[in-house]
Symmetry: C2
Subunit: 221 residues, 2 copies
Amino acid sequence: MTDTAVIHDDPSGTNNDDDAVTEHGDSGISHLPKKEAPDGKIYFSYSEIHATITSLVPQLEAFQPTLMIAIGGGGFIPARILRTQLKVPIVAVSLELYDDNTNSIRETGVQCLQWFDVSEKPGSFAQNGNVLIVDEVDDSRTTLQFCVEQVLQRCSPKRIAVAVVHNKLKVKKGVLPSHVEYFAGADVPDKWNCYPWDAAAYGRDIETHEALSRECSGLPK
Amino acid sequence: MTDTAVIHDDPSGTNNDDDAVTEHGDSGISHLPKKEAPDGKIYFSYSEIHATITSLVPQLEAFQPTLMIAIGGGGFIPARILRTQLKVPIVAVSLELYDDNTNSIRETGVQCLQWFDVSEKPGSFAQNGNVLIVDEVDDSRTTLQFCVEQVLQRCSPKRIAVAVVHNKLKVKKGVLPSHVEYFAGADVPDKWNCYPWDAAAYGRDIETHEALSRECSGLPK
């Protein structure tokens, strides 16, 4: 058990400037590092999220997934975006590290609120198959570690991979076994990153959020 | 059993021009009817989808949901967007009407590929609670009918509602019991509607998709 970040096969490398976000792929989305908005937060547009997660498609196709596991609710949007191109079924699991009742991280660790039936299709595709776990952001890595452990306990996959939109550049609490393949669409600094589906949580409508995202990318409002 | 469309409490009404899409809410997104792109399809941007589904928030808050059921994969994105504002847990179900193996509608009807445990939280919030079923589009209504029937068979909710981003204006095959409340963010014509997460299915990257959506809204590219 270590507190040190363990990055496996991270396609984006770990050599980025900690204050910069590097976009991958040839989406035409701004490749400039994103800067903070006047409120100190970094805003990401839907198009950027889409381009960032789909930039992983060639590598994920090479992994040949048989089943995607979307970690709810964060993994729902990237998993649905990926499905169009990967054409593999999605099952959802619900894992909760944050307790909405106490507004804090659960002291008891991650709680499993929903899993899937591994004895029936499509859950059975995890057995002796290639399981791709999808989430929005690899922050402390605690939830990802828990999900990988559950997959290993409940299923007998041939290979496991994790794909996230963003890997936050910080010391990780969770550790992934070395045989777990790791794909991050982009590395992001350890800052307050705002996703478009959460616009209302920051008091923004979606148009204002998207305008702030363009501002963070140095694009015209 | 009837083939006639049954619309319950549709906030958008059924009086729209069949060739027009009316956006609801005060998002600042174009309120003009969307026109077909040169390829005959209608393209919707992520911002429009976000604004359309969140325009339902006041009505959905009044429904006081205790649990959201996201019909996967289509319901994943709207359910995740709604969660930020409704602040209720999401469980996912996987219901498949279309058979990817035969590229056709299943003759045997909808198949249930994943359900949730109603004996444990948060699935148990369906018992004697207000269940909100979320999907992207109400097309033939077959999947929605199946989902409502499953909820009624497996749970004992106090109230059930269905929320979709788009209600396609067409004769419905499925029928919802009259006590099921119905919310559609917008009515859309029975045309080829393209969603941004499916951009690659139409051979587009996300930037081209979003530009086509602006074109359909009569906005500058």
